[in-house]
Symmetry: C2
Subunit: 328 residues, 2 copies
């Protein structure tokens, strides 16, 4: 049994790894691409891992795509633990087409949920009005519509949706979830299929795009979607840029449908410096950084090790992707 | 049985009131102070209510203190339903000294909890850094310490504390509560007495003053309190201005203990236009408006009517104050 992982991941988990699989052969990849086995440099042709792990550290040092691309070149990969929850990049399709199983990362669901709830609350509460009064030294009232009286729609309920629901439902919001499978979850008021979204949109104060990008969801936030929105609504996209038609959004903002767009993902990333979105007063831009919490690495390490234990004992893997998710 | 209430309250609850006490004599008070009974103007000397209800609407039309002062003049008041949770104004002491029972309002606990959680989250998340990058059209990372890794102290756990806990605990925070009585509450990690606060402060990322103002709590946030705070902490005061020594705060902000003060209440209200707090970059000022949610009136009406039903049947009243709370 041989595993390929990032060098920094190995340094963190070495002892815990040995406790699970004492005779595991470990190949590490440094950020500069150099591979090592037992402290010796090796070539890609000289290794043959059946397990691959893309540690979350690769997202921080900027090597995540390079690490994934290397994994896709391995001829006999049986299982890959991904750092990301979305598998729309072509490497994942390549790996699965060659017979590898893929389990998705979910460590980032926590900071992404914090981002969604925090951004929405900061716009629902009259923080901007209070700041304006403060600038003017004015002791003035700022009545507002309570969070408790808002209605939310989460489009997608994979790893991230439940983390959002867990944090926002205690505020007393009304929560609709758009997903294919039905589920029993005390946090959700109702589940609807994507086809029913147009009827639900006019009632929603906050709409969150938290689904995978595929042929069914590409451009789901299009001109018709925006025309159905309640004026004054807040739209948050933490899924993928391709879920949203940016030209249609620009026109819709002029009608206050939505009043605010909070965007962490874009059709083209990095967002070009001359994009209209940077300066639009109703748009909040962040640089695909919603996952950048400080708890990811510890959560991802623990998750990988739990899955490794399952892999060696033949138990079902946690968070395993199906072929549809990579476009097969 | 005679009741004195605001005119607008009566207009909302008339039918529900009659269903509970069909023969109740109702005296209404208009915002201009005019009293009416059965559509006829009456004088204060010409009425003799045993029940008083300060509707939340009096907080919106600016007559709350005037209504409370009128209640304190009634010679035979047996029960007052207050709109506010804090009973430190002298009228309440006067009423209770004359033998009235007082039940505290709790409708505002919801928006106050929303304010506390929303303000804290908006400072913990890197919203300001993201806005600065956006202004510069810069695609940059904003790593941050997750809400899930923060430690909170709630000083006081009356009506408001549990509403804060309900909303913030699902984020995974560590939650210490300062209160006299012990309690069993799944949301709290530990309860400590006020005497142990100095030892707890150095670990806290967020400290919320949510207690009553009395001789024990006056100026509890003093120079020693601030010196014990963790540099970078967030302090939020939604209790009373007198809980905090504003001069000591000013000095402490220079040491980043706390990094941010979010203040909705002040020693002098309205906050004087020349106060240093208006322009301090680490201070957020709001005008005692944290309770100004749009759900208060419906919640307060329902609460009063539930208590009225209990009053007429002799059951224990909800949220009844004890003498200490008015300073007796």
């Amino acid at each position: 049994m041989q595993i390929l992982m990032t060098k920094s991941s190995y340094e963190r988990v070495q002892a815990r790894l040995a406790a699970i699989v004492p005779d595991l052969e470990v190949v590490t990849r440094a950020p500069d691409g150099v591979l090592e086995r037992d402290g010796q440099a090796v070539s890609l042709a000289g290794i043959n891992p059946d397990i691959g792990w893309v540690g979350v550290d690769a997202a921080y040092d900027g090597t995540m795509n390079a690490v994934s691309a290397m994994m896709a070149e391995l001829p006999n990969l049986r299982w890959l633990q991904s750092a990301s929850a979305g598998l729309d990049r072509p490497e994942f399709k390549t790996m699965m087409a060659k017979g590898a199983r893929i389990t998705k990362g979910n460590a980032q669901a926590v900071p992404i949920a914090e981002y969604v709830v925090g951004q929405a609350i900061s716009l629902i509460l009259p923080l901007a009005q209070q700041a304006a009064l403060q600038r003017d030294h004015e002791w003035g009232r700022t009545p507002y519509k309570e969070i408790s009286n808002t209605r939310w729609i989460l489009v997608g309920y994979g790893n991230i949706g439940p983390e959002i629901a867990k944090r926002i439902k205690p505020f007393g919001v009304d929560l609709t979830v758009v997903r294919r499978a039905s589920t029993t979850d005390d946090l959700i008021d109702r589940i609807i299929p994507l086809a029913d979204l147009p009827e639900a949109l006019p009632q929603a104060d906050v709409v969150v795009l938290a689904c995978a990008l595929n042929d069914e969801t590409r451009n789901l936030a299009n001109a018709a979607f925006f025309r159905a929105l309640k004026p004054g609504a807040i739209l948050i996209n933490i899924g993928r840029g391709g879920l949203l038609d940016e030209d249609a959004l620009r026109e819709a903002l002029g009608r206050n449908q939505p009043a605010h767009a909070v965007l962490d993902v874009f059709a083209v990333e990095p967002l070009p410096a001359d994009s209209w979105m940077w300066d639009h007063p109703q748009v909040r831009v962040s640089a695909h950084t919603s996952p950048m919490g400080d708890g990811n690495i510890a959560r991802a390490d623990a998750f990988f090790l739990a899955n490794l234990k399952r892999y060696v004992t033949g138990e079902a893997l946690l968070n395993e992707a199906d072929k549809q998710e990579v476009g097969l």
